[in-house]
Point group: C2
Chain length 158, copies 2
């Protein structure tokens, strides 16, 4: 995985990892409490977090929302095969779509791997026929629909 790739500064120590791990579990914890938990002063915690944000280690504080509870009942993965010269163009167009929640360039025959969320099958079908199939360079699309979620990016170990 190479988002803005560079030789990593491994000036991330065990204390930083504890902070990241805790923020990953609960991003709304206060600096004060976090400091107490890991045995560090509030000011030091603050300084470290600001530093981690500055260095791009922390990208965002966000919220996990249960899709079904907001009316999203269809979720699918797509493998999209694209002619190489159109790959960037297609990727940029797809990244703009709200229904596309993640998009990656992969090894293998289908170069783009995409995750999409939709209210229902009709909305997904619309997306496929009106958007995806008409993009220049798209050669083939295969679609696998999600039946059950066992795990989604919880409990990442640091």
């Amino acid at each position: 995985m190479f988002p803005d790739y560079h030789i990593p500064n491994l000036d991330i120590d065990e204390i930083d990892k504890k902070i990241l791990s805790r923020l990953h579990e609960n991003s709304r914890i206060s600096y004060t409490d976090l400091g107490k938990e890991i045995g560090l002063s509030r000011v030091a915690v603050q300084a470290r977090i600001n530093n981690l944000i500055e260095k791009g280690v922390i990208e965002k504080f966000t919220t996990v929302i249960n899709p079904t509870k907001i009316g999203i009942h269809v979720s699918a993965f797509f493998n999209v095969e694209v002619e190489p010269q159109y790959l960037e163009e297609v990727a940029e167009q797809l990244a703009k779509e709200h229904c596309v929640t993640s998009l990656y360039h992969m090894t293998g025959p289908s170069k783009l791997h995409m995750h999409g969320i939709f209210k229902d099958n009709h909305e997904m079908e619309n997306f496929l026929t009106k958007k995806l199939y008409s993009m220049r360079g798209v050669v083939s699309v295969d679609c696998q629909i999600l039946i059950k979620r066992y795990k989604s990016r919880m409990g990442m170990k640091l």
Copy 2:
């Protein structure tokens, strides 16, 4: 997508959606500021957020961490074909693994779709040979390695 599926209470109104959208962008925003932004009192914002947590709409406040900056340089998707009677067993074992960040039961020939993160190829190989390949019921595994991340669950529209 059917995590703890039920008929959705669509008692989620436009104000709730604004709150969710804002929390999705930044989970560390204060109730006070959020209230100002959407024109609602701090007390009301708080009450709504607590309600959304209670109803399971909000699952978690979390932090997005840049993988390469914490030494994770290999990320891959796996399609795992499993004998039907072992599906649950394999899924439960896999879900426990720290390197598995997401795991879904899908339609299609490979019933499990998994995303994993690893320090390097060696760590991934270890996971495959020592863990995955030796699980009872696993019939085949295909692995696609991530080259570039275009988008990852940012800007979900509500």
